[in-house]
């Protein structure tokens, strides 16, 4: 399990062309749909925490590792998602910058990046099916989308707002 956590996140990190957020759909597809380490709802919580905590959004991996296999899992997943990109970045700094500018690597990235966008669509679709089960929750989703794109409110506050709406709706029943 620990080896699998490290291995899967290591692989994901190497395929995340387009920055940290590009890894989110891969993480969802692998850890929820493929490996069954956590439920879609728990994945959403992991991503929410990733936005709220300082540092990269990909700290999501730490949460998933912990839910799947405790502290060793958290460490394995965190190392897995950050190790290779860190080494690549230092390698580029050390003077193999021509690697990053390599024509074929860039072409690979140009093909891979749209696929990541499509996978993110699949992730959102699975979250909607599992979690947006009432019109009130659909309003929360649409409102968050509008506020995040039209205002400068930090994502953390929007997520907190969504959680409070959900909580109030829970009391209502």
């Amino acid at each position: 399990m620990i080896v699998q956590l490290f291995g899967q996140f290591f692989l994901i990190s190497l395929l995340a062309f387009g920055g940290g957020q590009a890894a989110l759909p891969l993480i969802e597809r692998v850890s929820v749909a493929q490996m069954g380490w956590l439920s879609p709802a728990a994945f959403a919580v992991a991503v929410a925490f990733g936005y709220i905590t300082p540092g990269p959004v990909l700290m999501t991996a730490t949460f998933i590792g912990y839910v799947a296999a405790g502290l060793p899992g958290a460490i394995a997943a965190t190392l897995g998602i950050f190790l290779a990109p860190t080494l690549l970045a230092m390698g580029v700094a050390a003077g193999i910058e021509r690697f990053a500018q390599n024509r074929w690597l860039q072409a690979f990235g140009r093909g891979a990046a749209p696929a990541v966008v499509g996978l993110l669509g699949a992730t959102v679709w699975s979250l909607i099916q599992g979690s947006v089960t009432s019109w009130q929750l659909a309003v929360v989703a649409i409102l968050t989308l509008v506020l995040a794109s039209k205002t400068a409110i930090a994502p953390g506050w929007l997520l907190l707002g969504g959680a409070i709406v959900g909580w109030v709706m829970g009391i209502w029943r």
Partner: protein, 184 residues
């Protein structure tokens, strides 16, 4: 590319990036501003061009850009050890906070937390739809790109295809498309 003229001792690098890691809220843009303010304006360890250079090169690589910029700048300060220290120190605060949240989640994940999580998930859906739009606008520049994105969506959502295989296959399509072009 050379290591910067400033070589702060490892302990100072660790302390500095530990603090930056704890303050690094708000994603790539906010963190870049924070790094510039602290490393360039306050400590004068690096210059503005170093930050731009770090971003330019790491953007092309797979993985978290924030962490890669930190690793790159750490390397500039003190070589491989500097990069490793800076990255580890930068990630440590977030790791500990996330661990605390995960422990709390495990304790609380009961009926009490369920409605709260539903609201949270709905909000995440909103944020991720925005992310699709932003990533799509940045990365999809051709009809081929649109087809790849749609193919990945359908392949994953309806056929349950392996996501890693989808990304690798799409990357290979990118390479094939490049091979069709005349060499520059």
């Amino acid at each position: 590319m050379t290591i910067s003229t400033q070589h702060p001792p490892p302990i100072e690098i660790a302390g500095c990036f530990l603090k930056l890691g704890a303050q690094g809220f708000g994603g790539l843009g906010a963190i870049l501003a924070l790094l510039t303010h602290d490393l360039v304006e306050r400590r004068r360890w690096l210059c503005e061009a170093d930050i731009t250079e770090a971003l330019t090169y790491t953007k092309l690589l797979p993985g978290s850009t924030v962490v890669q910029v930190v690793a790159y700048l750490g390397w500039k300060l003190r070589g491989w050890a500097g990069g490793a220290i800076a990255t580890a120190a930068f990630l440590l605060p977030a790791f500990l906070v996330m661990l605390g949240l995960a422990v709390g989640y495990r304790v609380l994940s009961s009926n009490v937390a369920l409605p709260l999580m539903k609201g949270l998930t709905a909000a995440i859906v909103g944020l991720l739809i925005l992310t699709i739009w932003l990533l799509g606008r940045k990365n999809i520049a051709s009809v081929g790109g649109i087809l790849i994105a749609l193919g990945a969506l359908i392949g994953s959502a309806y056929f349950g295809m392996n996501p890693a295989a989808i990304v690798v296959a799409s990357g290979c399509l990118g390479v094939l498309a490049e091979a069709q072009k005349e060499p520059p």
